[in-house]
């Protein structure tokens, strides 16, 4: 019942655009990746790289009417979510696919009690009496380790701390025992100690409930600690993907290397000069056809007008093969996409 290649989710050449005053801007440009069952896939990149738009395209939560999926497929359990009807996608969202947003305060309704909001999820997706839904909600809060869940059901979101609120959002996302959870920067707004609690909780729940996770983050530390596979995005495209161990040990694309080397770690000598990536992510309107990282680096080379091919360098390790950005590596090319 899974996608063509047996994964729970397969995103294939997804294109998402936004209609703006300056014309149609392509935020996601033929992105492909897949999520194996029970695994965590991280999508990493700087702001504006299209990582959140990619994730939100999967559940079709795009800003309306500007956002549109213009091409590609999202195979989830044998169905193409791109083609699914609005009713169908509404049942999937919050049901088989749970979503955890970055800012828990804006994901929760400030004027309703916690209990009502958790109960609502059960009532929407399951034929269940109010009382049973209430019991299920308490059990859910218990599962995300909220102390005194019966009492918290009567609280309003503002009465809880940031970490507790994020636990509620996780409870909402997991209420219907989804097989896939999309977590968009779930710990970015939290302190490190609370981040550690939440990541630990997600890992334990993943084990218990056997779900797959797409984790969107800009934090390479979080990626390294939680993900099995990593997708690196730059300017709307996937520039590299590999297993986490392979990517951190053997990054091939200049952008991935740049990202990995620009973060100070506890081992970096104090006040030493950090590696930087000059410039910034180009705005959508400035995207070129050729290698976009070359564009940022101010390189315009003859023959780079075409989009670089996406090749498999070693089993499972894919990279956008730009003559400059992936120079000095040998390409025992076996597979080519695009």
């Amino acid at each position: 019942m899974n996608g063509p290649n047996g994964n729970i989710l397969e995103v294939n050449k997804l294109i998402t655009s936004f209609e703006t005053d300056r014309g149609l801007l392509r935020a996601v440009d033929q992105v492909s990746f897949s999520v194996p069952e029970g695994k965590t896939v991280g999508i990493v990149g700087e702001s504006g790289c299209g990582k959140s738009v990619t994730a939100m395209s999967i559940v079709r939560l795009l800003p309306q009417p500007a956002g549109k999926i213009l091409g590609g497929h999202v195979w989830f359990k044998g169905r193409d979510l791109v083609q699914a009807s609005d009713d169908e996608i509404r049942r999937v969202r919050g049901g088989e696919i749970g979503v955890i947003f970055q800012e828990p305060m804006s994901a929760l309704n400030p004027v309703h009690r916690i209990g009502r909001q958790v109960v609502e999820v059960f009532r929407l997706h399951q034929k269940i009496s109010k009382r049973d839904a209430w019991d299920a909600a308490v059990e859910m809060l218990n599962l995300v380790r909220i102390p005194a869940p019966e009492k918290r059901m009567m609280d309003y979101p503002h009465q809880l701390s940031g970490g507790m609120r994020q636990r509620i959002v996780i409870a909402l996302a997991l209420a219907c025992r989804p097989s896939l959870v999309i977590a968009d920067e779930p710990t970015t707004a939290l302190d490190v100690t609370v981040q550690a609690q939440i990541l630990d909780l997600m890992a334990r729940l993943q084990d218990e409930m056997k779900m797959s996770i797409i984790l969107i983050t800009h934090d390479l530390g979080v990626i390294a600690e939680t993900c099995d596979e990593v997708v690196v995005m730059y300017a709307g495209r996937v520039v590299e993907k590999a297993s986490a161990t392979e990517l951190f040990a053997n990054p091939l694309h200049a952008y991935t290397k740049g990202l990995l080397h620009s973060i100070p770690t506890l081992e970096t000598p104090s006040k030493s000069v950090l590696n930087t990536i000059p410039g910034m992510v180009a705005s959508l309107a400035e995207h070129t056809h050729g290698c976009r990282f070359c564009q940022r680096m101010g390189r315009s080379l003859p023959g780079t007008r075409e989009r670089p091919a996406f090749i498999e360098v070693s089993p499972g390790h894919w990279v956008e093969n730009c003559a400059v950005c992936t120079a000095n590596i040998e390409h025992p090319t076996s597979n080519i996409e695009h």
Binding site: E46, S47, S161, G162, G163, M164, D191, V192, T193, V194, Q195, A196, Q197, L199, D200, H218, D219, L220, G221, V222, I223, A224, E225, C227, A244, T245, F248, A249, G258, L259, L260, S262, I263, P264, T265, L266, T268, S270, K271, S272, V273, L274, N275, T276, I277, M280, V281
Partner: protein, 349 residues
Amino acid sequence: MFNFIMNPPLLTTSNLRVHFPVRGGVMLRQTGAVRAVDGVSLDIAPGETLGLVGESGCGKSTLGKAVVRLLKPTSGSIRFAETDISRLSQRALRPLRRDFQMIFQDPAESLDPRMSVRSIIEEPFVIHGIGSRAERHQRVNELLDRVGLPTSAAERYSFEFSGGQRQRIGIARALALKPKLIVCDEPVSALDVSIQSQILNLLVELQQDFGLSYLFIAHDLSVVKHISDRVAVMYLGKIVELAPAETIYRDPRHAYTKALLSAIPTPDPRVRREKILLEGDVPSPIDPPAGSAFGHRINHPRYDESIGLDLALTEIAPGHMVAADPCCLSEEDWRKLRLSPAPQSPEFE
């Protein structure tokens, strides 16, 4: 390293407290106080970076603002280069303000969108009546160049720039009057990693060129370690540990510092470190526990013992200060501190 005997500190705070009144009831009488900063004593040497870390709500930003007198301290003293600035009036402070500046987390909110970049950077000169129009023009161009922005940026507005560039504008404004101390409040936390490293490099460079001191406030411990000479760890309004950066990361003594350090995600999937998971959140600074605040959070069996004790910072090794708190130290460290005859606390009264 810094020689504190040769170099008198540039900034010394002594038992600094900043409390915010909490009012309630019909008459809006004061019913309590948020003890945001509750007895902080620390010092910063010329040319030194003191990192200040802690979770949200621990009072680190309040401390930063109080140090540059954007807030009025409730009690305690702030000595800046021989002058006690803690109780000076705004008028008396003004000529001194050129020596201490601040950089904020969100440059989008700290830069006036209706002013051109030139007027933003020029404003400090105008306020302090420095230079002719032509000289100011020249200085702004030099400052832009120094922070890595083109001169053409001067005639544009701050919202036309990206986050990293806006932070450069904020830095240029802070540098304008050649300050001795800059309080950096989470200057890179809103930026992408590749931009973050550009700004960190710039701050280090400027420090070396101008001999600046920084009070560097951040919640990202790897960033703090990178830029700081010494690091102070703050918990619920108090400093619980203070040591040279290398030492505090290699050999943390306070249980809270240990937990905080263990929570940092390591960007290497092959490394799996044991995490100390803390339950709950930072307790409210309105009604702090009577004894050890951290001992209370972790439900330490010796919490009762800590009530009524003076949990002041005490030197446990040369240059390494830690709160004398039975709940947060190893048995060995606690015995060592208790047996030491005269605890040396950093009071510069």
